[in-house]
Amino acid sequence: MKKIYNISIILFILCFSGVEGTAQEQDERAALQKQQQVLQEQVATLKREQDFLLFRKTMYAADSKYLVLNSEKKTGQLMYKNRVLKDFRFTPSRNFPGAVQSGMLVLTKKSEGKTDRNALIFGTALIIQWKRAVVPKREARIPAISLTKKDMLSVFSAVEEGATAYIVR
C-alpha cells in the first residue's frame, strides 16, 4: 500500500513538472506563432514592394509608355521612363476592389468604339474605359475603371497593345 502511495506521489510530481514545462513552452509557442504571422505579412508586403520596384526599374530602361494605377487613391499616371506624362483620376466598377490584385497587367486589346467610346482591355483582369464605353458582352463582367472622356482619349492614344499597367494598393 505504501509502495503504491509512493509511486503515485512520484508520478504526480513528474506529471506536474511536465505540465510546468509545457506551460512555458506554450507561452513561447504562442509568441513564436504571433511573430511568425507578423513576419509572414511583412515578407509578403516586402515582396509586393520589390515587385513594383523591379517593374519601375524595368520600365525606366524600356522605350514604352505605361500606366500606374493606385487602387486605393483611385488615381493613375501615364508614364514614360521616369517621367510622369499625365495624372488622372478614375472611378472603379463595383467589382473592382475585390477582384483586382496588385501587380502588372498587359494591354491585350485597344477597342475602338463609336463616338470615342474606346476601351483598353487588359486580358480578363481589367478594362479601362470612358464612362459610356461600349465593351463586348463577354468582357462586360471584367472589373473596370472609368476615366473622363478627355483623359480616356489621351491615355487611349498614348499606349499601344502590349503596353503594361501596374496596379498598386
Binding site: Q26, L39, L54, N82
Partner: protein, 212 residues
C-alpha cells in the same frame, strides 16, 4: 488494493489530459518548438534580405529620378505641361497638328501631324522668322516660289519666342489664339503669348520635351 491503484491512475490520466496545452491548431501542437523557432528565424532572415534589396532598388531608382524640369505635350487634349517630377509647374492650352492631308498636283503630299516621341530643346529663338515652306503655298493654291525667294520670309507670325525641337518643329506663338486648344497647326506646337514667354524663360537648351 487494485481499486486504489486504478483510482490513482485514473486521476493521473484525467489530470494529464486536462493540463495538455489546448491553444492553437492541431498541427501547431505537432510542430516541434525547434521547428517553429527555425521558421521564425528564416522569416526574419528573408525579411532582412528583402529589406536590403528593396533599399538598394530604391536608391537605384532615386538616382534615375532627377529633379530636372521637362515639358509634356498631350496632342489629344492639346495641353502642354511643364513638370518637375510629380509636380506640374505650369499648365497651358496649346495647339497641335491639324491631322489634315493635302496633295499637290504633282503628287507631293503633306500630312500635318505633330510628331510624337521624346525630343530635346535644341535651341531658343527670339522674334523667330517663319520661312514659308512649299506646303503653305500649295495650301493656298499659290504658285510655289524658288527656295531662296525673299517672299518666303515672314515676320511676326510665330510670336515672340520659339523653342527648336529639330526637323523644323518648334514650340512657338501664334496669331490664331482663338484656335488654341484645337488641332490647327501644321505640326508645330502653338502657345498663347503669356504661356510662351513663361516657358521660354523657364526652359533651357537641353530640356526634354515629351509629345504623346
Amino acid at each position: 488494493m487494485k481499486r486504489i491503484t486504478l483510482t490513482i491512475t485514473g486521476i493521473l490520466v484525467v489530470l494529464s489530459i486536462a493540463l495538455i496545452p489546448s491553444s492553437g491548431f492541431p498541427e501547431d501542437r505537432i510542430v516541434p518548438i525547434e521547428v517553429l523557432r527555425s521558421k521564425v528565424q528564416s522569416l526574419q532572415q528573408e525579411a532582412a534580405r528583402l529589406n536590403e534589396e528593396n533599399q538598394g532598388l530604391r536608391w537605384m531608382l532615386k538616382a534615375l529620378e532627377d529633379d530636372e524640369l521637362y515639358v509634356v505635350v498631350d496632342t489629344e487634349s492639346n495641353q502642354l505641361l511643364m513638370r518637375k517630377g510629380d509636380h506640374v509647374v505650369h499648365r497651358a492650352v496649346c495647339g497641335t497638328g491639324s491631322r489634315e492631308f493635302i496633295e499637290e498636283e504633282t503628287g507631293r503630299n503633306w500630312f500635318f501631324e505633330t510628331p510624337l516621341g521624346s525630343f530635346t530643346v535644341l535651341g531658343k529663338e527670339r522674334n523667330p522668322v517663319w520661312i514659308r515652306p512649299d506646303w503653305s503655298y500649295v495650301e493656298e493654291n499659290m504658285p510655289v516660289p524658288p527656295e531662296n525667294d525673299p517672299d518666303r520670309i515672314v515676320r511676326g507670325v510665330l510670336g515672340k519666342y520659339a523653342l527648336l525641337l529639330g526637323n523644323g518643329y518648334k514650340i512657338h506663338g501664334t496669331t490664331y489664339t482663338n484656335l488654341l486648344g484645337t488641332h490647327f497647326t501644321h505640326g508645330c506646337v502653338s502657345l498663347g503669348d503669356d504661356d510662351l514667354a513663361l516657358i521660354y524663360q523657364t526652359v533651357k537648351i537641353g530640356t526634354k520635351v515629351y509629345i504623346y
